[in-house]
């Protein structure tokens, strides 16, 4: 009897313990009438944020051959939406590690810029006259923005090019070559030479030169050309005049300004609330009819939304939304809901939202929003929340 009981009990006790520690359930709404909601029902509301105009915060236009912007942009355009603007392109080069001893032994006899023109915005029917200046001091391209201008006063040469995609060459004058002969042949070329700035003096197009296929070429021995690869770029933007189309509020890629969005709601509109989902929708306008024949432009494919704190320094990139064929942009992410949630709890110091173009875009394309639209066609936020009051 003892043996039988205890031999079974050895298994029975642990099994019973497992049974007791387990639980199964079939919850139901029974008892709902005995539960006071700590909070209200979950509901959806629409708010119409307003565009708060432009704020001065430059787009990221700097890059290296590893990260950031992939091209430098230069030229002047009279855009029918954003008005006339100009871009100054900066580029620097790096010497190759396998330069022949023959190149270093003889004086440089020839040098030019070989540039891969892969982007055009503007008039493609008329030539563009470019002025090439030498940059006077070392500069940093990483995270460089469109409002960053470099010191480049020394004119090297001028040239005229047709706005056509492909590789073109800008011969450098012999006076400049002789002046830089020692630098070009030096192993410390990177420290002694800081690149060129390209500006347009005539024409109405912005050109973009890509890292790939662009270099400074030099030769001292016939048949032995050394390539100094493009190592870093930066594009700076400025308005020629403030003559934007008054019917639109526009955001331009590669610009020194951005568009701000403000929500009309304050904490009192929701009280304490749990935000489950926030969607911000924008409708961009079709402005293609405003552009003349021969004006080449490519539409941006995506635009980003970021939060800006009241300190005007803290910015959080939230999400990049694709621009649909009908011009609709939808920002919908958990991060956006969290930002609004923190703002409601007064934890974040959120001041406003800004639109921006992703660094990868690296063009001067524009997106425009028609002013004066009714709320249903203007910017709007769809907010799913539960009131906690």
């Amino acid at each position: 009897m003892y043996n039988l009981f205890w031999s079974k009990q050895r298994f029975v006790v642990p099994l019973l313990s497992l049974l007791i520690l387990s639980a199964c359930d079939d919850p139901s709404p029974i008892g709902l009438n005995l539960v006071d909601s700590q909070s209200g029902d979950t509901q959806v509301t629409e708010f119409a944020p307003s565009f708060a105009g432009h704020s001065n915060f430059g787009d990221v236009t700097g890059g290296t051959n590893i990260t950031g912007a992939v091209r430098t942009l230069f030229g002047t355009v009279s855009d029918p939406v954003v008005g006339p603007f100009s871009m100054t392109g900066y580029m620097d080069f790096i010497n190759s590690s396998n330069v022949s001893s023959e190149f270093r032994a003889a004086a440089v006899s020839f040098a030019d810029l070989e540039l891969n023109l892969d982007y055009i915005y503007g008039d493609t029917l008329n030539p563009v006259t470019l002025d090439i200046y030498e940059i006077g001091a070392d500069w940093i391209s990483e995270s460089g923005r469109a409002d960053s201008f470099l010191d480049a006063q020394s004119l090297v040469t001028s040239t005229t090019v047709m706005p056509e995609k492909g590789v073109f060459h800008i011969p450098l004058p012999s006076t400049w070559i002789s002046g830089k002969d020692a630098v070009l042949r030096s192993t410390t070329f990177v420290d002694e030479f800081h690149g060129f700035a390209l500006r347009a003096s005539q024409g109405s197009a912005v050109l973009g030169v890509h890292f790939s296929g662009s270099s400074l070429r030099a030769s001292s021995v016939p048949g032995d050309t050394v390539n100094f690869s493009l190592s870093k770029v930066l594009s700076a933007s400025s308005f020629v005049s403030d003559a934007a189309n008054p019917e639109y509020l526009s955001l331009r890629d590669g610009a020194a300004e951005t568009i701000s969005l403000r929500f009309p709601f304050e904490s009192k509109d929701f009280g304490e609330a749990a935000f489950h989902r926030v969607i911000i929708r924008l409708n961009s306008a079709d402005v293609s009819s405003l552009y003349p024949v021969g004006f080449e432009r490519s539409n941006p494919i995506a635009v980003g939304l970021r939060a800006v704190a009241v300190d005007e320094t803290t910015r959080l990139n939230i999400i990049v939304g694709e621009i649909a064929e009908n011009g609709t942009i939808s920002f919908d992410s958990a991060t956006l809901a969290n930002v609004v949630q923190s703002s409601n709890l007064a934890n974040s110091g959120l001041d406003r939202f800004e639109l921006y173009f992703p660094v990868e875009s690296n063009t001067v394309g524009i997106i425009a929003f028609k002013k004066g639209l009714p709320a249903t066609f203007g910017p709007r936020a769809v907010i799913t929340y539960t009131s906690l009051n």
Binding site: D26, S28, I30, Q38, H276, I279, V382
Partner: protein
């Protein structure tokens, strides 16, 4: 009769202790931290939660009373005067598995189940069968409920997309009682005892909005009320003289003094690991009322023990600076005095014969009880419970050690007038370990 050898007995003793320690280790932390499961009665939402009382597995199987009971086989924490009757160091604990089927007029029923700690007791004699001390950790009240409501919301007015979501109302936590007491045999008739009860715990109430979609962020609002305070209990037992030989009649009683718990309440918005405090933290006093209990135990023959008990708690005078469901500090409270009556019987064939056969040393217990809750969802309704209990006490090879299986089947409330009727079944597993400790082995 073949007794196992000493080493085997020692091994089983170790197994029992391990089981007990595992049981406590698994359940006590979760109970103390208000993380217990939330699948219980909706009535636990009201006031400070459903009152709990686990005083011993023997008492539990005999209707839950036992104020006049005394036994060297069990540490009876319902009455500190019973701590005097100890000659073994005793360590006991148990788990309860509860399944509740809730029903209401016009609604389909729902079933919830969960396990929880019944209690842990520890006691030892200071002077064998004269003076003893006891310690216990047991729930004082328990909050454990969950109500899930499925809904949809038109999440995108532009597309008319409807998104389903579940609002889950949950409550968990409860108050725990950590008690230290002493009992003393004044003479052969009178036993007195007293205990200090540290009552503490967290009551949590949450509302979770769950979408089951990556497009939405699930968030919960959680209200937590922390409370703590010290109460005292005094008890007596009196052996009625003049009873015939082999019969015994004992009266017992306890008095629980009123006490004030210090309470703080905060609300938070919870999203996964993020917790943001909402509003300001409230503080206040929660005054627990006095209570008393009277019981009688009668042994017509040593094999049979009969008990009857009555308990009263003056919750009609309950006061709190903080509001609780069913209680508003500035309104008419839904509280009423808690009354509990129970009766039970034990049949123990072996009675006082430790050398009886194993089967005759199994104790069989039966009981019934009725209770009026101290709080109700509605002011004109009282929540009553009624149930029957039963249990088996299985002796082990270790003298003084038993494994007890208890059952409690009952119902609470009613399904009309907007109330809920809970039909519950509780299964209790209790380990009750006793051995001589702290004794110097004889020389030679």
């Amino acid at each position: 009769m073949n007794f196992p050898n000493e080493s085997r007995t020692y091994g089983m003793r170790i197994n029992l202790i391990i089981c007990l320690v595992l049981m406590i280790g698994v359940v006590v932390p979760s109970t103390a931290n208000a993380q217990s499961q939330t699948d219980g009665s909706i009535y636990s939402r009201f006031g400070l939660g459903l009152r709990q009382s686990f005083t011993s597995s023997k008492n539990q199987a005999m209707g839950g009373g036992g104020l006049a009971l005394s036994s060297s086989q069990y540490l009876n924490t319902s009455n500190p005067s019973s701590y005097s009757d100890q000659y073994l160091t005793r360590f006991a604990g148990g788990l309860t598995y509860e399944s509740i089927t809730a029903s209401s007029d016009g609604s389909p029923s729902g079933t919830l189940a969960a396990s929880s700690l019944s209690g842990v007791n520890f006691g030892f004699p200071l002077k064998s069968n004269v003076t003893g001390v006891g310690f216990s950790f047991a729930p004082y009240s328990r909050v454990s409920y969950r109500v899930d409501v499925e809904s949809t919301v038109i999440s995108d007015p532009t597309t008319g997309t409807a998104s389903p979501y579940v609002t889950s109302f949950k409550g968990n936590g409860g108050l725990q009682s950590l008690t230290a007491g002493i009992g003393h045999r004044v003479n052969n008739r009178l036993f007195l005892g007293a205990s200090i009860d540290f009552i503490f715990g967290i009551l949590e109430e949450s509302q979770n909005t769950l979408f089951n979609s990556a497009l939405y962020t699930d968030r919960s609002s959680v209200g937590s009320t922390r409370m703590s305070g010290i109460s005292t209990t005094a008890g007596f037992r009196y052996v009625v003289p003049g009873m015939p030989a082999n019969q015994g009649l004992v009266l017992g009683g306890t008095l629980h003094l009123p006490t004030t718990l210090k309470a703080t309440r905060s609300r938070a918005l919870v999203n996964q690991l993020d917790r943001d405090t909402l509003g300001t933290t409230l503080s206040g006093d929660v005054n627990l009322p006095f209570g008393f209990g009277l019981g009688v135990a009668y042994q017509p023959v040593p094999k049979w023990t009969l008990v009857a008990d009555f308990e009263f708690e003056n919750w009609g005078a309950f006061e709190s600076d903080l509001d609780f469901p069913g209680y508003e500090s500035n309104g008419d409270p839904n509280t009423s005095n808690r009354v509990r009556a129970s009766a039970g019987a034990e049949f123990w064939p072996a009675a006082r014969n430790p050398f009886a056969s194993w089967s005759s040393r199994i104790a069989y217990r039966l009981g019934l009880y009725t209770e009026q809750s101290y709080i109700s969802p509605f002011p004109d309704e009282n929540i009553r419970s009624i149930g029957v209990t039963g249990g088996l006490s299985i002796p082990s090879l270790i003298p003084g050690t038993t494994i007890d299986f208890n059952l409690d089947v009952g119902q609470r409330g009613k399904s009309s007038n907007g109330l809920i009727q809970d039909r519950y079944i509780r299964f209790g597993l209790n380990l009750n370990f006793g051995e001589r400790w702290f004794e110097r082995p004889p020389l030679g």
